[in-house]
Symmetry: C2
Subunit: 323 residues, 2 copies
DNA sequence: TTGTATGCGTTATCAA
DNA sequence: TTGATAACGCATACAA
């Protein structure tokens, strides 16, 4: 900056003014400064600026594993980028919550906690002065508000849809144990069964991902082999559903019959599988965007209005497997 | 830091020594300092530290859209986290290369350019003093070395495999136009066809994603309807392949016959589709990890050995569609 | 309209 | 073994 000042024949203070668009600089002077900046390829040092302004322009994202982490992150990244800020990302494995601390030691203006397990929220709460935080896909906390997909509504709508198709009950493959999304999805499923007075089968342990879904599908196959009434399955996410369908295909058509399998999330491939997957769109990407925008508005002091997560949209499709 | 110093009855400089584990502090003094740190919940300010050391501990990742961006990013994140550094992430849409500049204005110690289009590399090269850079999934540049998945080997092995199954030729659905991965994959496919003396059909425009694949699949359907010999298809990535299979299913079994469809990448769902997808594992996640480690080693001055990308592994599976 | 002086929270150099 | 002092590159109050 001093080099630029020297070249333009002004003080470094005037350079600062020009760089930050402050008023009260003669246009001709500003022009000289800009020329010098261009000539020297000068770029302001964000670190020094952050030190003195106490604002870094950095937003931290703490990512715990969940079924929609990638889509949530995509939305967050887009919103942060659109705001001209920069995103700091770290995964927070369940066995290493300290990964979050290493990120928070960077000076972040604000922080997004994605699908945080309780241990992570505790860690944040125990900080000397925690950054403004918005929870994405989790419960609101004293640290700040939360924005979450409509898991419950999605599960409920799907379960109702399946019951409406004539199934006497709907079995459930659960999501990641202890996660907010999985609890909400299970709650929605239970609610719809209760409304309809349907029997409530014991949920099948799942997790997330096609391999976990395939394993769960085998359990369901066994369940049916033991005589239970299984004609419809709601998996906690699309990737599980895909695996469940595969498990049914593995069994082969030896035992005749068809099962309707639904997922949750409407991942990009859901519509293009053979057969396409019945699911509900929870707009995870949009949720990520809105959460980030909420955080940004709070940082700018605007008393941000409560952010509404989009309602889940049912996507009835043909997804049946045979066995 | 001054508060800590006061509480421990030492100078701030001694606090700094303790924090950084410098030698020459009496153990008893160090203990007093540590106690004060704990009592006040003091955490060193990374910004101030970066200002004076000229090293921020930050690694920037510039992400251009590509078929494996998510897996590459996952590997990068893990390696950066394991090294105790922090990752800065920004997507660089083709229409907004300036997004990269905003990230680079942060002081990053080094930078990973993922699937960079030429425009992005130009932008990096034009910087006054560009950060040490490793290209991931792209060509090596004057800025630094590159680590890329074995696209060409994967495509070649798959094409050979299909030809070995007795197909007279293999049609190709291309990836993202102008991308390194897509050019390499196409080259591998051409090489295998040339070796076998097989006819080289015009590549079908694809892109990435199941929707693009489905559209490409329709083009192939039309191609066959016009009398061409189409019995095997190599799609440039698994998500395209999935869409292609769907397009064939859409056509229905009206015209009898089967097509063998293969993808590239071995995405997690590939093994669990019905039928499962023939593909080749390019270990994108591992490539991301290795690229990040290469960058980190260069930053630490170690004359890093050339990093070897893992060879592609063929995954022959049952993926046929009918029409 | 412009310049001078001060401080942001550290680390590094030197002297004690 | 420790402390005083000077940077690091910038923004901000104040003076000119």
């Amino acid at each position: 900056m001093i080099d630029v000042a020297r070249l333009a024949g002004v003080s470094h203070q005037t350079v600062s003014r020009v760089v930050n668009g402050h008023p009260g600089v003669r246009p001709e002077t500003a022009e000289r400064v800009r020329a010098a900046i261009a000539r020297l390829g000068y770029r302001p040092n964000a670190t020094a600026r952050a030190l003195v302004t106490r604002r870094s322009g950095l937003i931290g994202a703490l990512l715990a594993p969940g079924p929609d982490t990638d889509l949530l992150l995509a939305g967050i990244e887009a919103a942060v980028r659109a705001a001209g800020r920069t995103l700091l990302v770290t995964a927070v494995p369940p066995d290493d919550p300290a990964a979050a601390e290493r990120l928070l030691d960077r000076v972040v203006d604000g922080c997004l906690a994605v699908a945080p397990p309780p241990a992570l929220l505790d860690l944040l709460g125990a900080l000397a002065d925690p950054p403004p935080t918005v929870v994405v896909d989790g419960p609101a906390t004293p640290l700040g508000p939360a924005v979450a997909p409509d898991h419950r509504g999605a599960a409920r709508a799907l379960t109702r849809h399946l019951l409406g198709l004539g199934h006497r009950t709907v079995h459930h493959v659960a999501g990641i144990p202890g996660s907010h999304s999985s609890a909400e999805r299970e709650a929605g499923w239970r609610a719809a069964l209760a409304e309809a007075g349907a029997a409530v089968p014991v949920p099948v342990p799942g997790g997330t991902g096609p391999a976990a879904g395939r394993a769960a599908g085998r359990l369901i196959t066994a369940r049916r082999a033991s005589g239970e009434d299984v004609t419809a399955v709601l998996a906690a996410d699309d990737t599980l559903a895909l695996g469940v369908l595969r498990a049914f295909a593995d069994t082969g058509p030896a035992v005749p019959g068809r099962v309707h399998v639904a997922g949750i999330g409407d991942r990009p491939e859901a519509a293009h599988l053979v057969p396409s997957l019945t699911t509900a769109d929870t707009a995870a990407r949009t949720v990520g965007e809105r959460a980030a925008r909420l955080l940004l508005e709070r940082l700018e002091g605007r008393g941000a209005p409560d952010v509404q997560a989009p309602a889940a949209t049912l996507r009835p499709r043909a997804s049946t497997g045979h066995w």
